[in-house]
C-alpha cells in the first residue's frame, strides 16, 4: 500500500528511471567512451564514477536553480561553462589531495566534460525540473553509471589481470586474458551488458 503510493510519486519515478528504465548507459547509450576507457580496473572505475557523479549533482543544482533565467538560445553554452567549471574543480581537487589517483587516471578526469550523460541530463531534465528532483535524478544517473562501470571493471580486471582492486582473486596458474584489459574486451563486455539489461528491462530496440 505504502509502496504503491510511493511508486506513483515523481521522486520515485525519477530515481527508478535513472537506475533502471532510462539508465544512461544501456537505455540511452550515453557516456560510452568513458565507460570503455576506464573500466579496465575497479579503482579507476570508482574514481571516475565518483568524479562524474559529483559533476552531475553540481550541474543539476546550478542548472535547475537558474532554469527560469536561462533563455533557450544560450542554454547549451550555459551547460558547457557550468560543466567545464566543475570538471576543472574536480581535476584540481584530485590533483591536490589524491595525487596517486590523479596519476592513474591521467587525462580521463578532464574527459568528464565530454561525457554526454551530463549534457544529456541537463538538456532533458534539469532545465525543466525543480532542484530536489534534479538532484535525485543526478544521483540516480550517477549511481546507474557507477554500478555499470564497476561491474564491467570487476569482470575485466578479474579476467585481464587476475585481480580485483589489486587483490589476487584468480588461482595461481591463471593466464591473464590480455584482450580483456584492452579496448576490444571493453566492447565485448559492454555489449553483453547492454544486451542483457535491455532484455531484462524489456526495452524494444
Amino acid at each position: 500500500m505504502i509502496f504503491a503510493r510511493l511508486k506513483s510519486t515523481e521522486e520515485f519515478k525519477t530515481v527508478a528511471n535513472g537506475l533502471w528504465r532510462d539508465h544512461p548507459i544501456f537505455s540511452m547509450v550515453l557516456g560510452i567512451c568513458t565507460a570503455l576507457a576506464v573500466s579496465n580496473k575497479v579503482d579507476n572505475a570508482i574514481a571516475m564514477s565518483a568524479g562524474t557523479t559529483f559533476v552531475l549533482v553540481a550541474t543539476a543544482i546550478i542548472i535547475s536553480l537558474l532554469r527560469k533565467l536561462i533563455s533557450t538560445r544560450v542554454r547549451i553554452i550555459t551547460f558547457m561553462i557550468v560543466i567545464a567549471s566543475f570538471v576543472i574543480i574536480v581535476d584540481k581537487a584530485i590533483e591536490a589531495f589524491f595525487p596517486s589517483i590523479s596519476e592513474a587516471l591521467g587525462p580521463y578526469i578532464g574527459l568528464i566534460i565530454t561525457n554526454c550523460i551530463i549534457m544529456g541530463r541537463a538538456e532533458a531534465f534539469y532545465i525543466q525540473n525543480k532542484v530536489h528532483l534534479s538532484i535525485l535524478d543526478a544521483l540516480a544517473n550517477g549511481l546507474g553509471y557507477t554500478y555499470t562501470l564497476v561491474s564491467i571493471a570487476i569482470i575485466r580486471e578479474a579476467l585481464g589481470f587476475g585481480t580485483i582492486l589489486g587483490i589476487r582473486v584468480m588461482p595461481a596458474g591463471w593466464t591473464n586474458w590480455v584482450i580483456m584489459a584492452m579496448a576490444p574486451g571493453a566492447f565485448f563486455i559492454l555489449s553483453v551488458f547492454i544486451w542483457l539489461s535491455r532484455t531484462l528491462a524489456k526495452i524494444e530496440p
Binding site: K41, S71, P107
Partner: protein, 193 residues
C-alpha cells in the same frame, strides 16, 4: 532587444562568477599541487638511488644524502656512495613520460629506474610503472644501449622484457632511456673525477 541584453548579461555574469570560483580554487590548489610535484621528484630520485625514506622525512633525507650538481642546465643527483641519478623525459604513446634513473659509480650499470609521470593507456602502457617491469632494469648494462625485447626473450645483460599488450609504450620507453642517457652521460663523465 531587451531580451538580447538580458541574455548577454546573464552569460557574462554567470561566466565571471564561475571564472572567479575557478581562480579561487586554483589559487588554493596550485601551491599544494606544486609541493606534491617537488615531493614526487625527490621521492623518485630517492627510490632510484635506493635510499630508504618514509613519507614524513622526504625533504630531510633528500638534503642530507644527496649532492646536487648542475652541468649546462642539466641537474644530477649524486648520493654519498657515488651513485648518480638524473631525470629523463620524452614522448610516450599519449603524453610525456618522466622518469628517474640511477647509475652505479661505474656509470655503466643501472642501479634502478622509477617513473615520475606517465599518461599511457591505463592498465596497458601504464604498467611501465609496475615493479615487475622496473625491477628488470636493475643491474643491466647501458652499453651499447638498452634494448626492450619481446616478453620472455631477454637474454643479454642489456636486454629487458617488454610488457605484453603494451609494445608501443615499451618501445617509447626504450627510446627515451637511450636518448636521455646519450644526452646526460657525456656531461657527467666530464664532470666526475
Amino acid at each position: 532587444m531587451k531580451d538580447k541584453i538580458r541574455m548577454i548579461l546573464f552569460v557574462l555574469i554567470l561566466g565571471s562568477f564561475l571564472t572567479s570560483i575557478l581562480l579561487l580554487v586554483d589559487s588554493y590548489a596550485s601551491p599544494i599541487i606544486k609541493r606534491n610535484k617537488i615531493l614526487k621528484i625527490k621521492k623518485s630520485i630517492l627510490t632510484a638511488l635506493e635510499i630508504p625514506y618514509n613519507n614524513k622525512n622526504i625533504t630531510g633525507v633528500f638534503s642530507n644524502n644527496i649532492e646536487i650538481v648542475k652541468k649546462k642546465n642539466k641537474t644530477f643527483y649524486i648520493s654519498k656512495n657515488g651513485d648518480v641519478s638524473f631525470k629523463m623525459s620524452g614522448p610516450g604513446v599519449w603524453g610525456p613520460i618522466e622518469s628517474a634513473i640511477a647509475l652505479k659509480p661505474d656509470l655503466k650499470t643501472i642501479k634502478s629506474i622509477t617513473i615520475i609521470h606517465q599518461e599511457e593507456t591505463p592498465g596497458l602502457g601504464s604498467r611501465i610503472t609496475g615493479k615487475k617491469f622496473l625491477n628488470e632494469f636493475k643491474n643491466k648494462v647501458i652499453t651499447p644501449e638498452i634494448r626492450i625485447v619481446r616478453a620472455g626473450q631477454a637474454k643479454g645483460n642489456n636486454e629487458v622484457d617488454a610488457i605484453t599488450g603494451a609494445t608501443l609504450s615499451s618501445k617509447a620507453f626504450e627510446a627515451l632511456i637511450n636518448n636521455q642517457i646519450k644526452l646526460y652521460l657525456p656531461l657527467i663523465k666530464g664532470g666526475k673525477k
